[in-house]
């Protein structure tokens, strides 16, 4: 049990380090270049300070099943 708990603690730490590395790499290699290109081609998406009209579709179960 003691060895199992030690392994769990160790693997947890290793996973945390791995996720840091993977996400840092993803951010540097993918997010930064894509964001930079997007910014060059299109003004950054910062919404204007006005009321945005919302779509007035009739409520439906179908749209409510969607997560987006």
């Amino acid at each position: 049990m003691k060895i199992w708990n030690q392994w769990r603690r160790l693997s947890h730490r290793a996973a945390a380090v791995q996720s840091h590395v993977v996400l840092f790499t993803l951010y540097t290699v993918v997010v930064i270049p894509v964001a930079t290109v997007t910014r060059i081609n299109r003004k950054a998406r910062v919404e204007a300070p006005v009321w945005h009209p919302l779509p007035q579709d009739a409520p439906s179960l179908e749209s409510a099943r969607s997560q987006s």
């Binding site: 996400l23 997010v31 964001a35 910014r39 919302l54 409520p59 179960l61 409510a64 969607s66 997560q67």
Partner: protein, 596 residues
């Protein structure tokens, strides 16, 4: 039709059960898990709701989540992209949380409740808030205003309700957010975001709003009520750890140190802080600066909310307004809406924050998607769990403290009035616990508001909380106008839920020193006989005995803990505090033999 509403993964996870269009149960997860503002998937709150309705997961027709997770994820990714290269921390934190948990909410619901995928619905965040306000209100036609930190993209939305339909027509989008503006100041003033906002509200009356002009540099408004933050002063949109930036600090000075004692020349230096420091004047001046900042952001927030309320009224032509979202818990702003705008009737749901959106999502699905009748009227907040005599008896026996037997109601009320009038602080737990952040007479700590010293006693000996925070009064609705400047109190729904700050009548301030805040206001609770007969009776009996039918009412918890749920938790809190007596249903427990 049995519909379960859920909110979770951000703050204040909650579940609610709606049966045939009527709310049957609603509770935040924190009351069961004992983790304040618990945002985890609300397994325990769901179990309670099903228990309360006599149902199992298989009996549910639909489960409704309070927002659209993919839209929210899209907003987070877009924010990360627009703030590159400063958004690395947010990206790492968001990916970890979303990839592990938040994106899989549908699977989580399916696993937890064994329900088919096509029976799981998603209602947009602000529409859930809107429904939680309008569909629970008594109005047949009303304007709707939702204001919080952020949902998917919306931070603020306006809409209208008519009959059993409610819809949002316009919104203002992230990062322009009143909730996030207020939270930035909450963090600056040394409090925890999503927890300390009401402390800022309590601190504000100790200050003078001398920095209003500076706060207005951070936010611009338009005559149509819309607003825009100057993002040059904030970092919440790209930082995982800080909500304001160095420019903000250059404008307002260094942030207040968390947990540093707060006192000003007005509040005085409380004896329980220990020996008076040598540099008292210097510390008072420093605290006054922060109180002035709190007063300034409070004033600006009120002005923004008033502008939005007026805009909602103009767009809909309705004079009734339903409000929800975390900012609707700003009870000072709510009071000003009624006094200073064309709005004549206001409804704020008792759990106006994200917890309440679980109710809104379920009610919206019931009425707008499934054609159920509108039966969601919420004129009280007692939707939580009740505990029977056996649980009380066990808690009393296990504690081994002096106690009465189970008293009849006449004897119980008479004895509790005697204790309160004699200066005792009494824990009071009865019936179903309240939904939302306020204790409204079912999980309350009660004291005599005529005694000025009660404020310090309850703050320091009982609740161990900051001394500047005010206590609320409970009053039978028929006596409210005698003490508080409130027209037609029965009509003011937010006052039922302690969500309305109103002036204490000048002639009553000396009578109620323990519940009159430093600016002469109070966040009162009006109590109705038909929604809480025993508490109403206690207040009336206290009035008969003392001439003042008002009690100091604060939530039954210690600092940093959720409000109690079970008799055992009430007993545990009682034993760790300086309360004199505890009422568990119809049994009174005493801290000492002498007290009995």
């Amino acid at each position: 039709m049995n519909i379960l509403g859920l909110s979770c993964f951000f703050h204040d996870a909650a579940a609610s059960l709606v049966v045939d269009g009527a709310v049957v149960a609603a509770a935040e997860e924190e009351r069961f898990s004992r983790i304040k503002h618990d945002f985890a998937f609300p397994e325990r709150a769901i179990a309670f709701c099903l228990r309360q309705g006599g149902l199992t997961g298989a009996d549910l027709d639909y489960v409704v989540f309070f927002e659209k997770p993919f839209l929210k994820f899209e907003r987070i990714l877009a924010s990360v992209m627009t703030t590159v290269p400063r958004s690395g921390g947010v990206f790492r934190q968001a990916m970890t949380a979303w990839l592990l948990d938040k994106l899989w909410v549908k699977n989580r619901i399916r696993e937890s409740l064994r329900i088919a995928a096509d029976r799981i619905l998603f209602v947009p965040h602000h529409l859930s808030h809107a429904a939680s306000a309008y569909l629970c209100s008594p109005f047949d036609r009303a304007a709707i205003l939702t204001v919080d930190g952020v949902g998917e993209w919306s931070t603020t939305a306006i809409g209208r309700g008519e009959g059993s339909a409610c819809a949002l027509t316009d919104d203002i989008r992230f990062p322009h957010s009143i909730g996030l503006l207020y939270s930035a100041f909450t963090a600056f003033l040394g409090f925890q975001v999503n927890e300390g906002e009401y402390k800022v509200m309590g601190m504000a009356p100790y200050g003078t709003p001398r920095y209003v002009d500076k706060v207005w540099r951070l936010v611009r408004t338009s005559p149509d009520g819309s607003f825009e933050l100057d993002l040059d002063y904030f970092s919440f949109h790209y930082s995982a750890t800080r909500t304001f930036n160095d420019r903000f600090v250059a404008l307002f000075g260094p942030p207040r140190e968390p947990e540093k004692p707060f006192f000003t020349a007005v509040s005085g230096y409380p004896s329980y802080f220990g020996a008076v420091p040598g540099n008292l004047g210097e510390l008072e001046a420093e605290n006054q600066h922060y109180a002035d900042i709190a007063a300034s952001i409070q004033v600006v927030t009120e002005e923004l909310v008033l502008g939005l309320a007026r805009a909602a009224q103009r767009r809909t032509g309705a004079t009734a307004l339903c409000m929800a979202g975390g900012v609707a818990l700003n009870s000072v702003a709510n009071g000003r809406i009624l006094r200073e705008t064309p709005i004549t009737d206001l409804y704020v749901q008792p759990a106006a924050g994200d917890g309440g959106a679980a109710v809104g999502a379920a009610l919206y699905a019931a009425t707008s998607l499934l054609g159920e009748p509108r039966r969601g009227l919420m004129e009280h907040a007692y939707w939580g769990e009740a505990h029977g005599g056996a649980a009380v008896a066990d808690a009393v026996r296990d504690a081994g403290l002096p106690a009465t037997g189970e008293l009849d109601e006449d004897a119980l009320i008479a004895r509790v009035v005697e204790l309160l009038a004699g200066g005792s602080v009494v824990g009071w737990a009865q019936g179903r616990f309240e939904f939302g952040p306020r204790a409204l007479g079912n999980r309350s700590i009660l004291a005599d508001p005529r005694r000025a010293e009660m404020k310090d006693i309850v703050n320091t000996k009982i609740k161990f909380r900051e001394p500047y925070r005010p206590f609320a009064p409970s009053v039978p609705v028929e006596h409210a106008a005698r003490y508080f400047a409130l027209d037609d109190p029965a009509r003011q729904m937010p006052a039922r839920f302690m969500l309305l700050v109103t002036p204490v009548r000048p002639e009553a301030r000396e009578t109620l020193p323990a519940v009159t805040h430093v600016d002469g206001s109070a966040r009162l609770q009006t109590v109705f006989e038909h929604t809480n007969p025993r508490y109403h009776r206690l207040l009336s009996a206290f009035g008969d005995a003392t001439g003042v039918p008002v009690l100091l009412n604060t939530s039954f918890n210690l600092r940093g803990e959720p409000v109690v749920n079970t008799p055992a938790e009430a007993m545990s809190t009682f034993r760790r505090s300086g309360m004199d007596a505890l009422v568990l249903d119809r049994t009174i427990v005493f801290a000492t033999k002498e007290g009995r």
